[in-house]
């Protein structure tokens, strides 16, 4: 059992629930993240990612559930957890009216880092911001702000990194560097929980967790999540895919139709029904386009999961509403 090496479990929460007013925003969420893991936290806007992360690091009080973070109780030991966690907020929340260096100095002082000026200098150089160190943080571009915030949140060498959409608005080169660094840190034992909307980033995680309407609806490696979805994909390539798209959308067995340049990705839960639908559409349009089996993408799976969760949520709310007048 896990009790053999309990220090290996960094985040271990059960039944975490958070309500705002009478709206349940995080609903019975359980998570476990092991040491050195990079776990991607995905889900549509408003699904409760930020709220969950805030509860893990003690910024919000859960209404239900319990758990430990770095072996410390999230309800009682928030102050001790904070010392060992690096949290990068979704919205830039360093001081815009301070310079880059002053912000880093501030963080270094808050965490009482020894040899502060050397650490700040090193951080500035690694960021490539050394020349601009006296520029106000508020005058940085969006992507640079993100990079500054990330650098600031790892400066005290936390054991756990909670990153809330750290690469939103960051260019591909910088994103790659960022992920390379995350992997390097994880090899040294840093644990990372990172929320993102980027599929390529999800694929760089050891594991992903997908949350929708406050509930976790899928978890595992990317391959496992795709596999478990049971979705098949057919790629249609050729002329006139627009007409095919309009037609095939109506057919039974087809769930998603998405053009990618000259290609058309057609996705459905049943491989046989999907093939029939696509073939029928090709015949009806007299198209000479080529249809062949493709790989189901994570994005297709997420869209499916989101639609399912929405349907569940609506039917749950629908019954609630139907009950109230009587």
């Amino acid at each position: 059992m896990a009790g053999d090496r309990p220090e290996e479990i960094i985040i271990d929460i059960h039944g975490l629930t958070k309500r705002f007013g009478n709206k349940t925003v995080v609903d019975d969420v359980s998570l476990d993240v092991r040491r050195g893991e990079i776990v991607g936290f995905l889900g549509p806007n408003g699904s409760g990612k930020t709220t969950t992360i805030r509860m893990i690091c003690g910024l919000l009080r859960p209404d239900g559930g319990s758990g430990t973070c770095l072996g410390l109780d999230i309800l009682r030991d928030a102050d001790r957890i904070k010392r060992q966690v690096g949290y990068m907020t979704q919205r830039f929340s360093y001081y815009e009216d301070l310079t880059i260096r002053e912000n880093l100095d501030f963080v270094a002082r808050i965490y009482a880092l020894p040899d502060r000026s050397a650490i700040v200098k090193k951080t500035l150089e690694r960021l490539g911001l050394y020349e601009r160190r006296d520029q106000l943080a508020g005058s940085l571009s969006g992507g640079w702000k993100q990079r500054l915030a990330l650098a600031a949140s790892v400066m005290h060498q936390p054991k756990l990194l909670l990153l809330d959409e750290p690469t939103a608005g960051v260019d591909p080169q910088a994103r790659r560097e960022f992920w390379d660094e995350i992997h390097a840190l994880a090899e040294d034992g840093l644990t990372v929980l990172v929320s993102t909307h980027y599929m390529d980033e999800a694929e760089r995680c050891h594991r992903i967790i997908y949350i929708a309407y406050g509930k976790i609806v899928a978890r595992g490696t990317v391959a496992e999540v795709i596999e478990r979805s049971g979705l098949s994909t057919i790629v249609v390539r050729g002329h006139d895919v627009g007409a095919i798209a309009r037609l095939v959308r109506q057919k039974t067995g087809v769930e998603q139709v998405a053009p990618f340049g000259n290609d058309l990705h057609v996705v459905g839960p049943d491989a046989v029904a999907l093939k029939q639908a696509v073939d029928a559409a090709l015949v009806e349009t007299h198209s000479d386009a080529l249809a062949e089996p493709g790989e189901t993408s994570l994005e297709d799976v997420f869209i499916r999961l989101m639609q399912e969760a929405r349907a569940r949520d609506h039917s749950a709310n629908g019954t609630a509403k139907a009950e109230s007048p009587s």
Binding site: R54, L59, D79, V85, Y87, T89, Y94, Y111
Partner: protein, 378 residues
């Protein structure tokens, strides 16, 4: 027409403002509360011709003439004479600590000399640090005495009452002999300026963080509420001390206000006072939801601080309830201390009654701030 001036746009804005205001209970309370408070304060508390100021009698013996004088002074309404006689030392102390505004001293043999018609001396010492508080009463004094003594000396001694007045009235305006208003204004100004600026600065401390979104980050860092409070308060204490230096230098240059006491004592009391203010401001910022509310709270505090502290209107001239409120305000004790130090040369021992309320206030608001501080974003 439609782009320049639109009634419907104005209406839309008014409705929006009204809804926002109604949701913001504090603003609503302020809009109603401030005029009411002003009305009450100006209508009742403010007494430009202060009456019933505390007075002590110092005399070797009491006699019919003494009693007549006391009765007449009481009857004038300007003086509230403490029962019994005080020793010269007690009277002097009372003047320094402000518990007496006047001391009347009758020399030994006053009664006898009066009857003999040798015009005995009647010494009136007034605390003139606030000229407004004493000038009217002192002006009325000769008239009060002469009519009282005329009555007393009727009969066989009536001739003695012939003008001029039967006593040699000697008035000493202590601490501010020329009755210069600036001497009173400077300590008051010091208090009000510090109240306004230092409270406002710290009142915005947390609300600004919340509004700018930096609070989340700050909360995620391992700083305790006390650390955050101290970290936010101390810079503003320094800020306040700089202000004090500027005001004092200006006071010296413009008004030549004397400095009878020690700068160290002044610095100490000022430190306490600024500490009270910045901590109060910080407490406001733990209660307010945004910067606007924080500013309103500051303003709300500022009003009684100006009106009831003894700055604008003599403290002893206010009705009792206003004096009670005034006594709870740090600025009241600060103004008294500064007047004492600058004009009377008071030392720490003389200021005990002003220092302990400042300390108590500071501790109380500090505790309230820590209690109110929100540790989470909920």
């Amino acid at each position: 027409m439609s782009s320049g001036f639109s009634l419907s746009r104005i209406l839309a804005l008014m409705v929006k403002e009204f809804i926002q205001m109604r949701r913001d209970r504090l603003t609503f309370a302020m809009i109603i509360g401030i005029p009411i408070i002003q009305l009450v304060l100006f209508g009742y508390a403010i007494n430009l011709d202060p009456k019933r100021l505390p007075t002590l009698m110092v005399a070797a013996e009491s006699g019919p003439a003494t009693r007549t004088i006391v009765a007449a002074m009481e009857a004038s309404g300007y003086f509230s004479i403490a029962p019994g006689l005080a020793s010269p030392a007690e009277a002097n102390e009372a003047l320094i600590d402000g518990s007496a505004s006047y001391v009347i001293t009758l020399p030994p043999g006053f009664e006898r000399d009066l009857v003999r018609g040798t015009r005995p001396q009647l010494l009136v010492e007034a605390d003139a640090t606030d000229p407004a508080a004493t000038s009217n009463a002192l002006g009325a004094l000769p008239q009060i005495l002469s009519s009282a003594l005329k009555r007393e000396l009727t009969g066989p001694l009536a001739t003695q009452a012939s003008p001029p007045i039967a006593v040699d009235l000697v008035i000493q305006r202590r601490y501010n002999p020329e009755g210069i208003t600036a001497y009173n204004i400077v300590p008051g100004l010091l208090g009000t300026i510090l109240t306004m600026t230092t409270i406002l600065m710290t009142a915005l401390a947390l609300t600004r963080e919340i509004e700018r979104g930096t609070m989340e980050n700050l909360m995620a860092m391992p700083a305790t509420p006390l650390e955050i409070m101290i970290g936010k308060i101390v810079p503003y204490i320094g800020f306040g001390l700089v202000q004090v230096a500027v005001i004092l230098v200006c006071a010296q240059i413009l008004f030549h206000v004397p400095m009878m006491g020690s700068f160290a004592v002044l610095l100490g009391v000022t430190f306490l006072f600024i500490g009270c203010n910045v901590t109060l401001g910080y407490t406001f910022s733990t209660i307010a939801r945004n910067q606007m509310q924080a500013m309103q709270m500051t303003f709300f505090w500022f009003l009684p601080s100006i009106l009831l502290s003894g700055f604008m209107f003599p403290f002893r001239g206010m009705p009792d309830w206003a004096q009670v409120i005034g006594s709870a305000l740090p600025i009241t004790h600060y103004i008294r201390s500064v007047r004492g130090i600058m004009l009377k040369g008071s030392g720490p021992a003389d200021l005990v009654n002003e220092i302990w309320p400042l300390v108590a206030f500071w501790l109380a608001v500090g505790a309230l701030a820590l209690f109110r501080y929100r540790r989470t974003l909920d």
